[in-house]
C-alpha cells in the first residue's frame, strides 16, 4: 500500500465533509443552542428515533445482503446463519453484545472451514 493510497484524494474528503460532518454537527450545535426547551419524551422525537433506528437497521441489512469486499466471498447461507446464530446467543445470554458478536464470528469461521 502506498502513501498516496493512505491519503486518498481531496474530492473524497470534500464529500466526507458535505455528506458526513455537516449533517452531524448541525444537530449537535442545534442541541447546544436550543437545549432546554425540548421535551425528550415528545411524540415527534419518538417518531424521529424510530426512523433513525430503522435507517441504521437497513444499513445493517445492506451489509449482510449486498456485502462489500471480502465479505462477498462468503456464501449467503453462512452470512445469514452467522447473524442468526449471534442473535440467538445474544438473546440467550441476557443481551450480551460480546457473546453475540463472538458467536456470529465463530459460526462464520467454522462454516467457512467446514465448506472448505
Amino acid at each position: 500500500m502506498s502513501f498516496a493510497q493512505l491519503i486518498g484524494d481531496w474530492h473524497a474528503l470534500a464529500v466526507l465533509f458535505v455528506a458526513g460532518v455537516v449533517p452531524n454537527q448541525i444537530w449537535r450545535m442545534l442541541g447546544l443552542w436550543f437545549g432546554g426547551g425540548i421535551d425528550e419524551g415528545s411524540e415527534l422525537l419518538v417518531w424521529v428515533r424510530a426512523v433513525a433506528t430503522a435507517i441504521l437497521a437497513g444499513v445493517i441489512a445492506q451489509i449482510v445482503v449486498e456485502p462489500p469486499g471480502a465479505l462477498a466471498s462468503v456464501p449467503d447461507v453462512l452470512r445469514y446463519g452467522a447473524v442468526g446464530a449471534g442473535l440467538v446467543v445474544f438473546l440467550l445470554t441476557r443481551r450480551s453484545i460480546f457473546a453475540g458478536v463472538v458467536a456470529g464470528e465463530v459460526f462464520l469461521l467454522a462454516g467457512t472451514w467446514w465448506l472448505g
Partner: protein, 246 residues
C-alpha cells in the same frame, strides 16, 4: 479504579479532572465494544475503497458510528452525495436530544455556551451513556474537563481501532477479512437491540432489517430512506396504538 470523593483535592485542577476522565475509559465494557465496532469500520472503509486518512477524518470529525457506516455503505455502493447526506442527516437527528439532555449535567450558572462546544461535539451514544453514569461522581465545576478527557480517550481508542482494522483488511486472507467486516453489522445490531427499551425501538429495528431487501428491489437509489421511513413510521404507529389503548 474508583474516582476520588467529591471533596478530594484531586479535583482542584481541571488538568487532573481531564486525566481522571481519560482513565475512566478503562472502567467500561463499552470501550471494548467501541474498539470492535471501529475495527470493523476501518475494515469496511478499506474494502469500500476509502483511504485510511478518510476513515480517520470521519472518526475525528463525524464521531458517530451509525452515521459513519451509513456514509461508507451508501457512498461505496454508488449513491450520490445528496442521497448519502439525506440518510446521514436523518440518522444524526438522534444526536439532538442527546446533546440537549447531557449538557445540563455539566453546566454551572457561570458556564458560557462556547465552553461546551467541544463537549457537544464529543456527544454520541457511548459518551451519553457514560456521562449519566460517571458525572454524579464528579464535582460540577470539573465536569466539562472530565468529559473532555473521557471523550478524547474514546476517540483515541477508535482511531487506533480504525487503523488496525484498515491494515487487517488489507493484509488478511479473504476469510479473516470477511470475519472483520462482519463485526460491523453484528456489533451494531446487538448494541442497538440492547439500547432498545421501548416497543417502538424494537419494531423499528426488526422491520428496518426485514423491509430493506424489499426496498432494494425497487432500485430507487433511496432504498435506505424508503425502508427506514416506512419501518420507522410503522413502529411509531405501534407505539401510538399502544398509548391509545393504555
Amino acid at each position: 479504579m474508583a474516582l476520588p470523593p467529591l471533596d478530594s483535592p484531586q479535583w482542584q485542577s481541571p488538568g487532573r479532572a481531564f486525566a481522571w476522565g481519560l482513565r475512566s475509559i478503562t472502567q467500561t465494557i463499552l470501550t471494548v465494544v467501541l474498539f470492535v465496532t471501529y475495527l470493523g469500520i476501518g475494515a469496511l472503509a478499506h474494502d469500500s475503497h476509502f483511504s485510511l486518512l478518510w476513515a480517520l477524518c470521519s472518526t475525528l470529525f463525524v464521531w458517530a458510528g451509525p452515521a459513519q457506516i451509513i456514509l461508507i455503505t451508501t457512498l461505496g455502493s454508488g449513491a450520490t452525495v445528496i442521497q448519502s447526506a439525506i440518510a446521514v442527516t436523518v440518522s444524526a437527528i438522534r444526536l439532538f436530544p442527546m446533546v440537549v439532555s447531557v449538557l445540563p449535567l455539566m453546566r454551572t450558572p457561570t458556564t458560557k455556551r462556547r465552553e461546551m462546544i467541544f463537549a457537544a461535539h464529543l456527544t454520541a451514544v457511548t459518551l451519553w451513556v457514560e456521562c449519566h453514569r460517571f458525572l454524579p461522581q464528579v464535582p460540577r465545576e470539573r465536569r466539562i474537563a472530565f468529559v473532555h478527557g473521557l471523550g478524547c480517550g474514546l476517540v483515541s481508542v477508535c482511531l487506533t481501532a480504525n487503523t488496525v482494522g484498515y491494515f487487517l483488511a488489507a493484509n488478511l486472507t479473504q476469510t479473516l477479512g470477511a470475519a472483520i467486516l462482519l463485526l460491523t453489522p453484528l456489533s451494531f445490531l446487538f448494541s442497538t437491540a440492547r439500547n432498545s427499551r421501548e416497543v417502538a425501538d424494537v419494531v423499528a429495528l426488526a422491520l428496518g432489517i426485514l423491509l430493506y431487501p424489499l426496498a432494494a428491489k425497487m432500485n430507487s437509489g433511496l432504498d435506505i430512506l424508503v425502508s427506514g421511513l416506512a419501518a420507522g413510521t410503522i413502529a411509531y404507529g405501534v407505539h401510538w396504538w399502544r398509548e391509545v389503548r393504555a
